[in-house]
Symmetry: C2
Subunit: 413 residues, 2 copies
């Protein structure tokens, strides 16, 4: 299990207790009424893992291509990237952004033979995803009738994409209607490709399930306190910065930014704009980039440090002293694992000295369980802050206008 | 040449005119007095390119490894990543973060034979860089006396690393004393590895030089106006968000975040913390992540859109209509180049409708000239805002404390 250390200056008075109790109640209500279905995914998706295990067809595949964008790819990428040191059966490639240079580059790397293409889109009509899918059909000369075993679809039941898949006998997996893209990593969206790749997705779901269960049994009160602090002070601390001490967390960072920004950047019931801005960095490299601003700039940020206790990769800094460079010898003989974690602690201490509210999350290992729990934790935290703001955490009305303008621009020319 | 379209609600009254004139004067002073040396790099570094061209030794190398962190690697990475579609002579690998999993992964990919290792550190004693260098020495069994042709050093004159290089006859290039890491991409720091890799670094320097020259001839007044708006409204618009519409700009985004955050997050002469927070995203993918917050959340951000007019990679969306998916056919036949740029325009339009101050930078091509100019532009903008704040744009006192704490932690145990 991960550990969570909250160091926010929060006085838990009766006001805060009420705020926390109400938000907790709101999440219980959401779960019971099915306002959102993500709380139940760790249990439900066990069946998907079983189903995948039975698919003998997958033995044929050497690699997986996920065609999807935003909530349809970020969660899968986060888990895949976090665990990339593991030897899996099949690497996953992502066709995501409609950048022609990137698409060409990917096409050159990926052969058609023995490749499983998984098209992921909740609505089934995401313009980037369907356009890239069509391009892949043309580039790889995929015959929809004959090559349908190499295709798979993950989408809402009865979406246009689902109907398309049925037409050609393409296997499809459903996303529960009440699970939005950014909360969907524990649905088929993440579980299908990650299971076929060879990850221990049951372990991933177990990690998440434990967190959800403990939370709803009120055994993870620190999440309520963190949400209360962020909500109460959101106008002063308008940015929530994640400092993740591991390259492997880079795509988790991106997943967090989407989860937070798209869920909480909303108009509240009174019509006022609310929401804090998520920012995510990698330690120690970004100490050389962002730390100066945190230390001496405006005190408008909270900082969350994530570190990994045990990388299971024992590389030591050699105990050699180079002429003129003895100044750096104080780390000689230490594992990089330790250097990274001491950098995390030293940075946290220096930042706290400046009065910056900080908290820390420690993952014991780089494994499925710890990332599953971490993602569940962030989903809960997001839902709690959303409940405190009184907003709809699960929609994204603000992105529609751009889509309409895009369509109009194409129609006119 | 790039084009710049400023759409900020700035009324240029006498107050603003004075502000701009004073900041411009400050930069002229910096340049003339050598407060910072970056303005002169495009001219000075032409000699480095010539010198590199003469090195016959480089023909032996198949790849380059840059060992450096922060300002010692971000600029080089930004240019290399931007131009990665080009066929260069030698790929560049970066050993940057002290993450043991990442280091192992890189070591497995990089053979010793025919590899040039370039160690970059301005101070010469950066703890991550020297530790990774020592680890590379041990892993590759590099004999400092015999293998010195495979090593190169880029550092300050007379730094400990420079003295070390002299001791072993390792070639070294100097960083001018008055050029800080984050402003050093046009010095040897960027020019040496990029030239050996095979990029047109003269074109890169030309792009930058043109921008500096036009600016100091007062032909790029829009930069002054943008700086004035950011400075005047920094407490309302506390975040400056970059939306770059190309995967190839991802590392440029990171370079921008360091340049801006570390330069401008400071205490002003009165001791007050100042500075806006840089945030950087990639379009269109991050429309599915960050746009909702920009549209409906607090109006505390300015947005800069960067797009590329001509990707020179002509992939068209096939003109095929799939059953049930006709809704997406309106982009059929269009180039992805166009889809991406129309998304940029549509998003910009929708965001402007919400009263968000926006500006747009258009790069005509993905080439050395356009990225050189863009980097020069951002350096000037940063210096101008720093001058308006009355801060020292070029130091970073806030990161020292963490380094001291780190050392103490290691000394104690």
């Amino acid at each position: 299990m991960n550990s969570y250390h909250l160091d926010y200056p929060l006085e838990v008075d009766s006001d805060i207790k009420n705020l926390m109790a109400n938000a907790f109640g709101a999440l219980v209500h959401e779960k019971e009424q099915g306002v959102t279905g993500y709380y139940n995914l760790p249990e439900e998706s066990g069946l998907i893992v079983e189903e995948i295990k039975k698919r003998e067809l997958d033995q044929k595949f050497d690699r997986i291509v996920v065609i999807g964008i935003g909530g349809s790819s970020l969660g899968t990428k986060a888990v895949d990237h976090f665990l990339r040191y593991k030897k899996v059966h099949r690497p996953i490639y992502f066709l995501e952004n409609p950048d022609p240079v990137a698409i060409r580059h990917q096409f050159e790397q990926i052969p058609k033979e023995n490749t499983l293409f998984i098209i992921v889109s909740k609505s089934g009509t995401t313009i980037e995803t369907i356009s890239i899918f069509k391009t892949a059909l043309a580039h790889y000369k995929i015959d929809l009738a004959k090559d349908n075993e190499q295709l798979m679809v993950i989408t809402d039941i009865d979406s246009p994409l689902h109907l398309f898949a049925q037409e050609y006998g393409i296997e499809s997996f459903a996303i529960p209607k009440n699970v939005g893209g950014r909360f969907s990593v524990m649905s088929a969206v993440g579980i299908v490709p990650l299971s076929i790749a060879g990850y221990d997705t049951l372990g991933f779901l177990e990690g998440a399930k434990g967190m959800f269960e403990r939370f709803f049994m009120l055994h993870e009160e620190h999440i309520l306190q963190k949400a209360a602090f962020i909500y109460k002070n959101w106008q002063q601390y308008s940015m929530n910065v994640l400092f993740s001490y591991a390259d492997e967390l880079e795509n988790f960072n991106k997943w967090y930014v989407q989860l937070w920004g798209e869920s909480l950047g909303k108009k509240d019931p009174a019509g006022n704009p609310v929401g804090t801005t998520p920012i995510a960095h990698i330690g120690s490299v970004d100490q050389h980039s962002f730390l100066q601003l945190v230390m001496e700039g405006p005190k408008d940020k909270t900082l969350t440090f994530i570190c990994i206790e045990n990388f299971e990769e024992e590389i030591a800094i050699p105990d050699i002293s180079l002429p003129h460079l003895a100044k750096t010898d104080f780390v000689n003989g230490a594992l990089f694992n330790r250097l990274l974690n001491e950098e995390c602690k030293a940075t946290m201490e220096s930042v706290k000295g400046q009065g910056v509210p900080t908290d820390k999350i420690v993952l014991p290992f780089i494994n499925e369980d710890s990332i599953g729990e971490l993602m569940a934790y962030y989903e809960l935290l997001t839902s709690l802050v959303g409940a405190m703001f009184g907003i709809n955490t699960y929609n994204q009305p603000g992105v529609e206008l751009g889509k309409q303008i895009l369509k109009t621009r194409f129609m006119q020319k």
